[in-house]
């Protein structure tokens, strides 16, 4: 497990990182927390000539209150995001998902932005970020642009980040008072989810006023269960009410078939886990 030799640079600012990226372009890989890139290098699945480490850019770390949203620096570790009281208060779904993300060691090294930029559809952060309607702030030579979550995830391991850009921040709209749950289905604890469901709901008395549901590993990108979301609006938070809406969760999805389950089984799991996640988010789990 020895990677091929590469040159290493650790810029102190985003501008310096962009300059390094401009210089080395296709020959470079950016490393954030390294929890996906290092295995790739060690298994020699890829051999970039340059590795640009964002680890020393202080401005990419930390969580800010942006008024109507939380601004999470791309290099903030999962652990730090998961423990943050602001996240717990304003974006509970993110906190819930992080408790299920990998293991403690990975959570202390891996980063929020790194995982999202990696865009593994089985990653635990894509569905919550999507469900919460996050905005991705991307910086390039021409300045900064904002990409809505719906446009950020393009395909398997592919995002709207251009080759000369860096993800700097993820803005998560505040969902104060929304209940949340992340239902992750695995065979063993340290596995990527076979399917997971991220659900967050705003209650109005005993009924669900609004719901947002994101699905993990139900296609080449994280996806919203829009039919379910629509059907949940105004529904009483009962097993029967939610089940009918959850039965629509797999509509329009294109899940993979692999060792851990064929597509039809994943579609079925999505409906069951959606019902459970929504009920838990509604405080009825």
């Amino acid at each position: 497990m020895i990677p091929a030799a590469f040159e290493y640079v650790a810029p102190a600012s985003v501008e310096e990182a962009l300059a390094a990226l401009a210089e080395h372009g296709d020959d470079a890989k950016i490393i954030a927390g390294g929890q996906s890139l290092l295995p790739v290098l060690r298994m020699r699945l890829n051999a970039p000539e340059w590795v640009i480490d964002l680890g020393r850019i202080a401005s990419l770390r930390g969580i800010r209150d942006g008024g109507d949203h939380l601004a999470i620096g791309a290099m903030t570790t999962h652990h730090d995001v998961g423990q943050d009281p602001l996240v717990h208060e304003h974006a509970l779904l993110v906190s819930k998902a992080i408790t299920h993300l990998a293991d403690a060691q990975v959570r202390h090294r891996g980063t929020f932005g790194g995982a999202l930029a990696h865009a593994d559809p089985a990653g635990d952060l894509g569905a919550p970020a999507l469900a919460l309607g996050s905005t991705f702030v991307v910086q390039g030579p021409g300045g900064t642009r904002e990409v809505p979550a719906e446009e950020f995830f393009v395909d398997l391991f592919e995002t709207a980040i251009s080759e000369d850009e860096i993800l700097t921040e993820v803005r998560v709209p505040k969902h104060d008072g929304w209940g949340a749950a992340y239902e992750k289905f695995v065979r063993i604890a340290h596995q990527w989810p076979i399917v997971a469901v991220a659900a967050t709901v705003r209650m109005d008395g005993d009924a669900i006023a609004e719901a947002r549901v994101g699905l993990t590993n139900m296609g080449s990108t994280p996806v919203r269960a829009r039919a379910t979301e629509a059907a949940l609006s105004g529904v009483p938070a009962t097993e029967e009410g939610v089940a009918a809406a959850a039965a629509l969760a797999a509509e329009g999805t294109n899940p993979p078939s692999d060792l851990n389950g064929d597509a039809d089984y994943r579609r079925h799991l999505a409906t069951v886990l959606t019902r459970r996640a929504v009920l838990t988010a509604a405080g009825r789990g």
Binding site: A4, I188, L259, G261
Partner: protein, 813 residues
């Protein structure tokens, strides 16, 4: 007599913390990969991506020109000097055994086989250069599916003309140990019950913690080989036998070894290649495999189809069992190889009194990684089959599975008992172990809860699984091995050295790889010799120190190696006796030995054995004709196998919506005779249980149609961790073995052998109301869900893994 401060608390039976754990757990020790020698070179292997292909050319020029590369060698370059990987157990005289060169010259027979080795000054440079070796292959059709391979649809080795390596058969009527099984089945078809099933033992990967590593130093008079191996003595023999280097010129050292589970009892191609390269270059070399290489090329385990026919009377007395196996050997016949299913042959009848029995295994070559012993080796397969069948019989009869077992098992007053497979079980008490296990488990309450959940149509259903296992361990009586054509004996050797300072060195030929030999053997010696536990040092794993031995596997270290040790200790005492008599000026007949002292009967005169050791060292005052040594050695050949047994009970909860299986409770009562160290025993049982549960629920080595190992990393080969298991309830009954002095029985494999059927029986038990009678292993949530919805066994595993690591170029973070 010596006045002791505390009551005579023996070492045997104490839960001593393990002596070796400090260094093993912190890693401050000599693992093979930690060894660095002056001028040492590093190896990297170039491996075939194809399961079956002709090597048409190998271009090593670019690799040879890479920085700090010393040599690039192919199989043709090494030629016959590379030796061969041996099969020690041709199970039939006409066994078909493909020649196994460590590095083939013209054809590869499995994906991962080495075709060239790069030698460089650093491991990184060797790895870099390995990517520059250009190999041209002409792909050949590959024999991948076991059943198709058995039918010779595609040949794994075309020159052999068949994939069938051996057909080995046992029939109780022919052997005179029982009746005619065909007759029993025919009678049951007329007027009884016949259960016919086909079970799959999926392929597993031993997945030991420390990847294999080898260092060879050819400088000096002896060639020294350090290897992360379970079998330093066997390795030395195999190297000598196949390279022509005299055995006396080879020293093999297994330093601390990080686990094996049978996976390191091999003579590996990598060891042989390292040996050949070191000799050729005259320099020390090291090879340490990556985890990916380990999963791909270290031998795999299990991989059988089992066709089973059980005949019984209408009231549930079994009248016959017929077993027909297909066993996948992989590309070559490994060191034990085809002997693994044969070891199982004696265990399908398990704890039961079956009047008739027939066993046949067809050992088949395929173009996959070779298979060999993996924790239990043949016995887990057998135990799984019979314990599943006994549950099926109980279901057919509408009886409790424990009741049906009790109708058929050997009663405790019937020991010693000669089984239909011809083995004599020395001791056991299935009634007692079962009663205790039921009590710990809360069997009746859980049955009541199951009934309640069924009645309510609860989304979560409860299943209770039973496994009343026994096994044959303590490998092995040499005469029996000889009768089975095994190429070696099964004895073990031990030596006790009494040092001048009163300390004791113990040398054992049973080389540990994590089991705790140093602690347990120290306890035995401390008790028997009457010296402090701390004063005993256990040495092993170096053929220069431990010159004789047959190593560690098959739960043999304590019951065979421990007995050799007991005998060596007893010889020390007997050698010390005349010296003691001389020094105490007494008759040897008047001496008593206890608590480490010789005393003169009826007097207060005495002398510690450690004082005698000092006196013998000085040799100033020894009786005439007595040599100046009380050191002793002993070689012990067991007269019989050793038969631990136990009752394991497992409760699982099944989420019927998702198929998820969650373990609710696991209780087991194992009878392993007298216990030397309860803590080590618990560790062995816990680890064994998890490994067996993992076969039932999680682990499977999956190949795709191209012969590629899909589960080539721990992303896809699901090795459980502590997070996936529950707390187990353990206890023991004690029926001491009658065939060794300490009354001990092996425990290294017990948990693995017992637990797999307990779990699957529990899963099937939960699903009976859905018309389910089998779920294929591993019982994945998807299989369980499909079984619930179709009544079948859950179907095949999809032969594809999801990528989680992006191989694409570009700058995605």
């Amino acid at each position: 007599m010596t006045a002791t401060q505390e009551p005579a608390q023996g070492e045997i039976g104490r839960d001593r913390r393990r002596k070796e754990d400090q260094r093993l757990i912190t890693g401050r020790t000599r693992w093979t990969d930690n060894i660095t020698l002056p001028g040492m070179l590093h190896l990297a292997m170039v491996r075939s991506p194809f399961p079956h292909a002709r090597i048409t050319s190998i271009d090593t020029a670019a690799a040879k020109g890479a920085p700090n590369v010393v040599a690039v060698l192919t199989g043709a370059d090494l030629g016959e000097g590379q030796g061969a990987c041996i099969n020690a157990w041709p199970v039939v005289p006409d066994q078909v055994t493909p020649a196994h060169l460590p590095m083939p010259t013209d054809r590869v027979a499995f994906a991962g086989e080495t075709v060239a080795v790069v030698v460089a000054r650093s491991a990184a440079e060797a790895r870099d250069a390995a990517e520059l070796v250009e190999v041209d292959y002409e792909e050949l059709p590959a024999a991948l599916d076991l059943k198709e391979a058995a039918a010779n649809t595609v040949l794994a080795h075309p020159d052999l003309g068949t994939n069938v390596s051996a057909v080995w058969r046992f029939d109780s009527a022919e052997a005179g140990t029982g009746g005619d099984v065909e007759q029993a089945i025919a009678e049951a078809r007329e007027n009884g019950i016949v259960i016919e099933r086909e079970y799959r033992q999926q392929r597993l990967i031993p997945a030991f913690m420390e990847p294999r590593s080898v260092v060879v130093d050819p400088t000096g008079e002896q060639i020294t080989v350090w290897s992360a191996t379970q079998v330093p003595h066997i390795l030395r023999f195999a190297i000598a036998a196949t390279t022509g280097v005299p055995e006396s010129k080879i020293r093999v050292i297994a330093p601390d070894v990080g686990g094996g589970f049978g996976g390191k009892l091999q003579q590996t191609p990598e060891e042989m290649i390292a040996f050949a390269v070191a000799r050729r270059l005259g320099k020390p070399v090291k090879f340490t495999e990556t985890r990916s290489e380990s999963l791909l090329t270290a031998h795999h385990g299990r991989d059988q189809w089992q066709r089973l026919t059980l005949a019984a009377t209408k009231d549930g007395h079994v009248t016959g069992l017929k077993v027909d196996l297909l066993a996948d050997l992989g590309a070559y016949v490994a060191i034990v190889g085809g002997g693994v299913p044969v070891l199982g042959a004696f265990m399908f009848n398990a704890i039961y009194k079956f009047p008739a029995y027939q066993f046949q295994t067809t050992n088949v070559l395929t173009n996959k990684t070779w298979t060999d012993a993996y924790r239990g080796a043949g016995r887990p397969e057998a135990t799984f089959a019979i314990e599943r069948l006994m549950d099926e019989l109980a279901h057919e009869l509408g009886k409790d599975p424990l009741e049906v077992r009790e109708m058929n098992w050997i009663k405790h007053e019937e020991f010693p008992f000669t089984t239909v497979a011809g083995l004599e079980y020395d001791s056991g008490n299935y009634e007692a172990a079962t009663a205790r296990a039921k009590e710990m488990f809360g069997y009746d309450a859980l049955r009541a809860e199951q009934a309640d959940r069924r009645a309510r149509g609860d989304r979560v259903q409860l299943g209770l699984g039973v496994s009343t296992f026994t096994e044959m361990c303590g490998l092995a009586p040499s005469r029996v091995l000889g009768s089975l054509n095994y190429g070696a004996g099964g004895w073990e050797h031990a030596e006790v050295r009494m040092l001048a300072t009163g300390k004791v060195e113990v040398v054992t030929g049973a080389s540990a790889h994590g089991q705790g030999h140093e602690t347990a053997f120290s306890q035995i010696v401390a008790d028997r010799l009457g010296v402090p536990f701390e004063d005993v040092e256990v040495l092993h794993g170096d053929t220069q120190i431990s010159h004789k031995g047959l190593d560690t596997y098959g739960s043999r270290s304590l019951v065979v190696g421990g007995e050799a040790l007991v005998r060596a200790v007893d010889k020390v005492i007997e050698k010390a006796r005349p010296v003691a008599a001389h020094l105490l000026e007494a008759s040897a007949d008047d001496l008593e030995f206890s608590d480490g002292r010789f005393t003169v009967r009826g007097t207060d005169q005495g002398m510690a054995i450690t004082e005698i050791a000092t006196a013998v060292f000085a040799a100033h005052n020894l009786p005439d004709g007595v040599e100046a040594s009380i050191d002793s050695e002993a070689t012990y050949d067991p007269v019989n196998f050793n038969y631990p047994h136990g009752t394991h009970l497992c409760a699982v909860e099944i989420d019927t919506e998702t198929g998820q299986v969650r373990m609710r409770k696991y209780a087991c009562c194992d009878d392993i005779g007298n216990v030397i160290n309860p803590l080590i025993v618990s560790g062995q049982v816990h680890g064994g249980l998890v490994q067996g549960i993992a076969q039932a629920l999680w682990e499977e080595a999956v190949y795709d149609d191209n012969g590629t190992l899909v589960t080539g990393s721990f992303v896809d080969y699901l090795l459980p961790t502590a997070a996936d298991t529950i707390s187990f309830d353990l206890d023991h009954t004690t029926s001491p073995a009658t065939t060794n002095s300490l009354g001990t029985k092996g425990v290294g494999e017990a948990g693995t052998i017992a637990s797999t059927p307990a779990v699957v029986n529990a899963v099937v038990d939960a699903l009976r109301p859905y018309g389910v009678h089998d779920v294929a292993m591993p019982c994945t949530p998807e299989r369980v869900w499909r079984a619930i919805n179709s009544g079948g066994s859950g179907g095949e595993t999809t032969q594809a893994a999801a990528p989680h690591f992006d191989e694409s170029e570009g700058a995605a973070q």
